[in-house]
Symmetry: C2
Subunit: 322 residues, 2 copies
Amino acid sequence: MDEFSFINTIKQGRYNQPSLVRGIGDDAAVFRTQEDVVTAVDTFVEGVHFSKKTMSPYQTGYRALAANLSDLAAMGARPVFYLVSIVIPKIWKLNELEEIFHGMRALARNHHMDLIGGDTVSGSELSISITVIGYVDQDMARFRHTAKPGDHVFVTGTLGDARAGLHLLTEDRECDYKNVAFFKKRHQMPTPRLEFALKLADIDRVTLNDVSDGIANEANEIAEASNVCLTLYDKEIPTSEDFGQFSLKMQHEWKYFGGEDFELLGTVAEKNWNSLVKAAKDSGVQLTKIGFVTNTNNEPAVFVIENDTKARLDKKGYTHLK
Amino acid sequence: MDEFSFINTIKQGRYNQPSLVRGIGDDAAVFRTQEDVVTAVDTFVEGVHFSKKTMSPYQTGYRALAANLSDLAAMGARPVFYLVSIVIPKIWKLNELEEIFHGMRALARNHHMDLIGGDTVSGSELSISITVIGYVDQDMARFRHTAKPGDHVFVTGTLGDARAGLHLLTEDRECDYKNVAFFKKRHQMPTPRLEFALKLADIDRVTLNDVSDGIANEANEIAEASNVCLTLYDKEIPTSEDFGQFSLKMQHEWKYFGGEDFELLGTVAEKNWNSLVKAAKDSGVQLTKIGFVTNTNNEPAVFVIENDTKARLDKKGYTHLK
């Protein structure tokens, strides 16, 4: 693998973003904007986050960037640039590597993003580290610490599907199940909820967090950052049409702790609920009110009401009856 | 290794940069500036770029960030933020990981940089991917494509030392050599030439490239990007006091192709030479005029004059007599 010629194969012919001063080809890229700049990095390792059994190289690239874009969606930011650092084992073939970049580029192109930097080095395991850069109007970034008592708790889409897809890809006989392609796709090529998040720009306060580790984790992150309690109704947690074909234990585990659905979990005041509903409708995204925010008497916490019983939902996957 | 508690151990207690709107703790970081934003990513893999034999964990962290800061120096940009993504094998101990971050932080603190994001994931080999963000006055970033016929070619510091240090760390008996600590340090803890680069702000045009792969490579990058020829005088290539103790073959190989010295190679017009000399003096950096820029009659190229013979110097390590 010749590093220089590989970089040339992935370099864009032209750039989309007018704020870019200089793209790939120098020691660093240069851009200029009046907006607030939002940035995050995420790494995706073969054998940990994916394998050739669960994802094609194209899907691997797509999925790696999707996870990053989901972070930008959770900030209410418009994706603009990305930089990719990739550690490549010698056994990966050039066409497979190109497929990884094609997968990224397909998603990037949907959002007019430019690839403005990167590094390719050899190593023993494939690892893809992506830095994304987005823009948002000044002081309009969405945070986790802004939830207030009285807010509705909402979530986009359906939960647990990506984990169900992984299960079908790795552990179970596909032929026993319905709608297998849907669940696999939710794992392999998730859709970051950017369009929905960007349509909330007129709402002064929306708390957002993306569902990367499961809503048990993300709901606790919001509760802690905002110093509030979130109470969720188990029966309101949205799941997809054929999710009921899995065992009750799996359903419960996956919808709370499954992660990688890349939906948005958030809170918003009652007065803004109708705007939120409109944004969801306009962006074709399912939106569900799943609970409410209250003051914390003691410490921030997340509770789930199920069959008239209230249980505490912890970050790491356990619910203890109170 | 608990990812969450590890992130807490590396999170800064307070941030230095007034342009930071939000640091670690949400889905992404947010900053705001009127200046041009400069960004690059670089990855450092155990077994490829370093080993426990050649660098302590502290030096590994220091060196990884130094390479990135050298890219910012080569852009004339002031370092501001960094994001770190680290793939951690289970056999690395927590205190060793902390040492990696201590090494980075020591260098970052010298430049008032803030760590604003990161990701820690497990894997089979240690890999550190750093994204740096710097600021530069609008339209004052330094590029490789601005060299003009008549320019002087210059380089900071001395060349080949880092490669000599690696040689002493891996292949040769230390006791046979003088000044071993100096050479080792040049490999383990290089100094990015930020101070010098930032003192050039009054010069309207300076071409800069940092010496990461050896000046043969970087000189060719400038020649190609600027569509000019660079001619270097072999006898002017600066080497350190005790560099002569290595074989002539090693000296030649290391000073042209050794890399990782993280000095700055550049070109500047004669009218600005004195300003450059002053910047070098003020920042305590050795500065050497090593050649000149000419028009290309045919194709961009780099030549070396040695003992009244002119030879072509290629990127990849070969010199062919013309």
